[in-house]
């Protein structure tokens, strides 16, 4: 069979969602993905810990939002391939009536999400977060989500795939303006900032970051790390909850989890 049978899903080109799946020990990745992923791990072995830490961050954030914050509507932008402990599973464990929309622009991610995640009070749609209206006006979103009630917008490990020339700050602001007061924004974002506890020099850190970013240029979405101040700008119009924008490992950690901070910033804000 010729290779060009596959049109929308091209397994021959490295893909960030499948690379992430590889980091998490999943099996939905292909040689092209693994080639890049293995190079990333060779340069930054910590990548494997960071993706696990990001999953743990997601768990804690969603548990907080569904529990203490009382949120019943979640929109997960750039949701990625289904794995263990997906947003609706975490949210509905706390609040069985929680409604969840998974949004991704990747055909394989959407196919898997529709097959494996969608169900009662949960839908998966194909849309590009860089076009907020296409998400918010999507009929399935309109059917499930009430824009007069508080909504939690999850942007985890995704905004670092939106370069500045695609106006990531404008995109987040557009979503913000459509959310009612009392809604929440959760973000995690890759950074080259020096972790609090490391023996790496700023030069070594910068070099590592640059190398990883170069590798991601081979994929379908390039990676743009940002500084703390830049990531904080996404929260314009939101009040950051304690402990603020911190390394994800430090955001309300479970006691059982070891604290080796670094790699990603994370925070949760409440719309004024």
């Amino acid at each position: 069979m010729p290779d060009d049978w596959t049109t929308r899903i091209n397994t021959g080109v490295p893909n960030p969602a499948r690379i992430y799946d590889y980091f998490l020990g999943g099996k939905d990745n292909f040689p092209a993905d693994r080639e890049v992923a293995e190079q990333v791990v060779a340069i930054a072995p910590v990548a494997l810990d960071i993706v696990e830490d990001n999953r743990a961050f997601l768990r804690r954030v969603v548990r907080f939002l569904a529990g203490e914050a009382g949120i019943r509507q979640f929109v997960d932008l750039g949701s990625g391939l289904p794995t263990q402990g997906n947003v609706h599973e975490i949210a509905q464990a706390t609040a069985p009536d929680a409604r969840v929309v998974y949004v991704d622009n990747d055909a394989m991610v959407v196919t898997h999400s529709r097959a494996l995640l969608a169900g009662r009070n949960t839908v998966a749609i194909e849309a590009d977060l860089r076009d907020p209206d296409s998400v918010m006006e999507h009929p399935e979103v309109r059917q499930l989500i009430d824009f007069d009630q508080p909504i939690a917008l999850l942007l985890l490990a995704i905004l670092h795939f939106v370069p500045d020339d695609e106006d990531p700050f404008g995109v987040v602001a557009r979503f913000r303006d459509a959310l009612p007061a009392g809604s929440y924004l959760a973000i995690s974002h890759g950074t080259r900032d020096i972790p609090a506890r490391t023996d790496m020099s700023p030069e070594a850190m910068a070099e590592m970051g640059a190398k990883v970013e170069r590798l991601y240029q081979l994929t379908t979405a390039s990676l743009v790390t940002r500084t703390r101040a830049r990531v904080e700008r996404f929260f314009d119009g939101f009040d950051l909850l304690d402990p603020g924008l911190v390394e994800i490992q430090l955001w309300r950690p479970d006691e059982s989890e070891p604290l080796l901070p670094g790699g990603f910033y994370g925070g949760v804000g409440r719309k004024r």
């Binding site: 049978w5 899903i9 397994t11 292909f30 494996l116």
Partner: protein, 311 residues
């Protein structure tokens, strides 16, 4: 021994008397010997490569050939306890607890799977499938001609068997159906596997067994979509040419990270199992493509109801 197709088919249907208590088997999630052997083999391979040893060098330690190591690591043969202990020593695994766990895993790998109760009912090559299927966490399947076996009704299955002119008695046919039903129990057991099936429109339109049987089968499919662990997608005619036109296949995925996906292809008189990553991934690629081209799962019931009206 004969078969048309696993999922459509008759491989699990070779007529030999069945003991009656078998219908209760297979409700829990047994790993089954094939998978246990693959798991032990995969662990041995990892340990050996971590030590930088060749298969030949490992073979010497257990007075065996490179080929024997190859077969052990691929889970193709059972394990002798002494071999396991000698290999672990060579791989510098000396913690007694770790060694004991390994030996116990290898021992489990030598015990028979639930289907062994069926004696000679199953052709050997299909036993492996039943074993793998009952251990899988995710079963992805594409069917072009049949309704997948795990979702067939009794009557549909009888009609398929009759259509194949196997020339057998009513009693034999009855036994086949019972065995199929035993396999189907995995859908509703505790911790069932996720089944994600793509069914070609052709399989849904061919009135196997006549209108009544086909209507019953379509209703069964509609019921199946209500199971939380079953996803059905219809691959419509309007898609035209697609990546899976060569025919039916299944991909079995196991929860254990060390176990590779296994692709199952069935022929009339035997079956092929592909677990080499590059081969299995060609099929995974095809599966991704047809899942994307098929109607989304949320439309399946509507499509099945339309077909039901047209039967």
């Amino acid at each position: 021994m004969t078969a048309l197709d696993n999922s459509g088919g008759m491989a699990d249907c070779v007529a030999i008397p069945l003991p009656g208590e078998l219908m209760t088997e297979g409700r829990t999630a047994p790993a089954g010997p094939t998978v246990q052997r693959m798991l032990v083999g995969a662990k041995l391979r990892r340990l050996r490569t971590e030590m930088g040893l060749s298969r030949e060098e490992a073979g010497e330690a257990i007075r065996a050939s490179e080929w024997k190591i190859h077969r052990l690591e691929n889970g193709q043969v059972g394990f002798k306890e002494r071999d396991i202990i000698d290999l672990l020593r060579l791989y510098q695994v000396t913690d007694p607890t770790e060694v004991a766990e390994f030996v116990s895993l290898a021992r489990e790998a030598n015990t028979p799977g639930w289907w062994q109760h069926y004696g000679d009912v199953l052709p050997q090559w299909f036993r492996t499938y039943v074993d793998l299927e009952s251990a899988a966490a995710l079963i992805r399947t594409y069917e072009g001609q049949f309704i997948p076996g795990l979702l067939q009704t009794d009557a549909y299955m009888r009609a398929v068997v009759q259509g194949a002119h196997l020339d057998e008695s009513a009693e034999e046919l009855g036994r086949r159906v019972r065995l199929r039903m035993a396999r189907q129990q995995l859908l509703t057991r505790e911790q069932p596997p996720r089944v994600w099936a793509v069914i070609d429109e052709a399989a849904l339109r061919r009135p196997v067994g006549g209108r009544e049987v086909m209507a019953g089968q379509l209703e069964r499919l509609i019921e199946a979509t209500k199971l939380p662990n079953v996803t059905l997608q219809v691959l419509p005619f309007e898609v035209g040419a697609h990546a899976a036109m060569l025919g039916a296949f299944s991909i079995l995925r196991f929860a254990d990270r060390e176990l590779p996906d296994v692709v199952y292809l069935e022929h009339l008189t035997n079956a092929v199992y592909l677990d080499k990553r590059d081969e299995a991934e060609r099929y995974l690629d095809v599966m991704e493509s047809i899942c994307d081209e098929s109607e989304p799962p949320a439309r399946t019931v509507e499509l099945l109801e339309k077909l039901l009206d047209e039967v």
